[in-house]
Amino acid sequence: MPQDHIVRAYDEELKYLSRRVAAMGGQAERLVDRAVTALVKSDMRLAAEVIKDDAVLDDAQRDIDEKAIVLIARRQPLADDLREIIGAIRISADLERVGDLGKNLAKRVAPVSEVRQPVSLFRGLQGLSELALTQLKDVLDIYATRAIGRIALTRDRDGEIDAMYTSLFRELLTYMMEDPRNISPCTHLLFCAKNIERIGDHATNIVETIHYMVTGEVMPPEREKTDTSHKVVAEVPARS
């Protein structure tokens, strides 16, 4: 049955694409994790490795783009399949940015290590990156299972990441005001925190892409928050 054979080959190409995206996701997760470890432990060797490994993500993105374009050109996919392919292109672009941000973190390891930093700062940075990494993991798990019911959780975490970033920002400012010698390393740390926060943003983009892939619709904007209190883990309905 040649018809059947063609369909199967096409299916296989689509599957290859999603596997490639997932593998790229795994590499991005690992890269960010190692970059943060290098930062917290002032490990220059690890940082150098991370900087080198970013190329793997660039290659992955190029490969996914090429395969996707060939698929579109040859198979002229419609509806679901087309969304799947477009989704792969978009997600891999976000993951490539995550890799860049991780690389940027690694590049700051040397200047940050010049001055001894307070322990609490690193705990904060670690907390922030744990949130961002959990976000990335959850998002990629949703990509694997297509369980878009879990999207609400990732949205809540988005708010936590912002709150944590704001808190770290303030802490860093106080150190800079205390002692001008802190300004240079703290500025680097500020950028590190910003980079980690942006990794969370890319995870959120990916969630939106997955929502679009699965439903064909753009994700509705987040409902307005009714109060100004911050959430550590998730939102609770207000009660009196």
Binding site: R19, G26, E29, R30, D33, E130, T166, S167, T228
Partner: protein
């Protein structure tokens, strides 16, 4: 991996293929053998495993099973006096995933679902296990290079876990493959715990030690003959040593928690019963702080899977904080109710009417040693580890903590816990 027995002896193979029960038995035995080999990790286990797999391999499966679902059905049919491979897989304590030639899940046992979340039949393992070393492992098992492979896999978030993962094919003709995960977190964490403990403890013990040594100096010098000052200083020193002792206890308890594997599924724990027990235990503290506790428990009794003692610690810490820091409000509300937004989730909330927590501190107060106001916390005998312990325990229970507060009006700490259906 060719074995003499497997070299296409169609006579024997045909004879065996006619005997489905035998085929099933072989298959079951093969799985057991591989699991045993993986779990025991002994050379003998591996040898036995490989031998039995080879034995199972001489039974060719008549059809090629392309689809995971078909394979799953086939698995169901195979039985050993009512013992299906699924039952067997479920009974294995380590996570175990059976998958097909396409890398799609055929069956994931309870331990695997617990450790990695839902792994529905048909889902590609390569999408779920994204770590580069696992990708390599799965690929190489699928392409059938050599018999058995093992890698170490570290999962960092939400909890650090270290697994020794073994991949193998289930015979050569079944078209099925197996991943088993042996949790090695404990061994790895013991090392880390040592380093962490020293770092944390030395940092936090320095302050009380410095103060004690300061007082000793004063006692030997200027205050040598001042009886009144001596008494006062000795009292302070005693307080400081008590604080250090508490700190060490808390640190040990946190480290021990981090070392322990996930809590066993165990018996369901009744939330209301635990909270009542905590309230009983804290009656003296509540009276001493002059706060009145109001219970707001719904009609529905809710149960969660987990460790009762650990959950006790969660509510104890939250209520203790509410008494200590929310004292000025004069009252607390403890409520237990089903979540309005997430089905199957219970919410235990502790609300106080004290000073509350400034917004910028909320994201950070679950960090170790993080205190909003170091002096107040110290004067209340706080070590800054309570909420870190709470967060850790909740994470272990697939649960979350949320905090909301309006400065000046109080704070609400809510634990969100997945409930289990009550068995009647």
């Amino acid at each position: 991996m060719e074995t003499p027995a497997g070299k296409g002896d169609s006579g024997i193979a045909g004879w065996l293929a006619d005997r489905m029960p035998a085929n099933g038995l072989m298959f079951v035995v093969a799985i057991v053998a591989i699991v045993l080999a993986a779990v025991l990790g002994t050379p003998a286990g591996v040898v036995v495993g490989v031998f039995l797999v080879a034995a199972a391999a001489i039974v060719p499966t008549s059809r090629r099973r392309e689809k995971a679902q078909i394979a799953a059905r086939a698995l169901e049919k195979t039985s050993l006096g009512g013992l299906s491979p699924q039952n067997l897989a479920e009974a294995v304590g380590d996570p175990l995933v059976i998958f097909d030639r396409q890398g799609a899940t055929v069956h994931a046992n309870a331990a695997a679902r617990k450790a990695f979340g839902d792994l529905p039949a048909g889902m590609s393992l390569l999408l779920k296990f994204r770590a580069p070393e696992l990708q390599d492992l799965i690929q190489s098992v699928l392409t059938g290079q050599a018999g058995e492979k093992a890698v170490d896999y570290v999962e960092r978030v939400p909890l650090e876990r270290v697994y020794r993962v073994v991949g193998a094919s289930v015979g050569e003709q079944t078209g099925l493959f197996l991943l088993t995960f042996r949790d090695q977190s404990e061994a790895r964490r013991v090392d880390r715990m040592r380093a962490d403990f020293i770092a944390n403890a030395s940092h936090e013990l320095r302050t009380p030690l410095a103060s004690i040594s300061g007082f000793i100096e004063t006692l030997r010098g200027p205050a040598r003959n001042d009886a009144k000052a001596r008494d006062q200083f000795l009292q302070i020193m005693q307080d400081q040593t008590a604080r250090m002792a508490r700190l060490i206890d808390d640190l040990l308890s946190l480290s021990r928690l981090e070392m322990k594997a996930l809590p066993p599924a165990g018996r369901p724990v009744d939330l209301q019963a635990v909270v009542e027990a905590v309230l009983d235990a804290l009656t003296p503290l509540a009276r001493e702080s002059g706060v009145e506790v109001k219970r707001d428990f719904g009609h529905e009794r809710m149960q969660v899977a987990g460790d009762r003692d650990e959950l006790f610690q969660v509510f104890e810490n939250l209520l203790e904080n509410a008494c200590k820091y929310g004292q000025s409000g004069g009252r607390l509300i403890v409520s237990i109710r089903p979540s309005a937004s997430v089905p199957g989730e219970a919410e235990v909330a502790v609300t106080d009417f004290g000073p509350g927590i400034p917004a910028e501190h909320i994201p950070r107060i679950t960090e170790r040693f993080y205190r909003v106001d170091v002096e107040t916390s110290r004067s209340r005998k706080g070590t800054g580890l309570g909420l870190a312990i709470v967060k850790h325990i909740l994470t272990r229970h697939h649960s979350r903590l949320s905090i909301r507060s309006e400065p000046g009006k109080g704070a609400t700490f809510t634990a969100h816990l997945p409930t289990v259906r009550r068995r009647n």
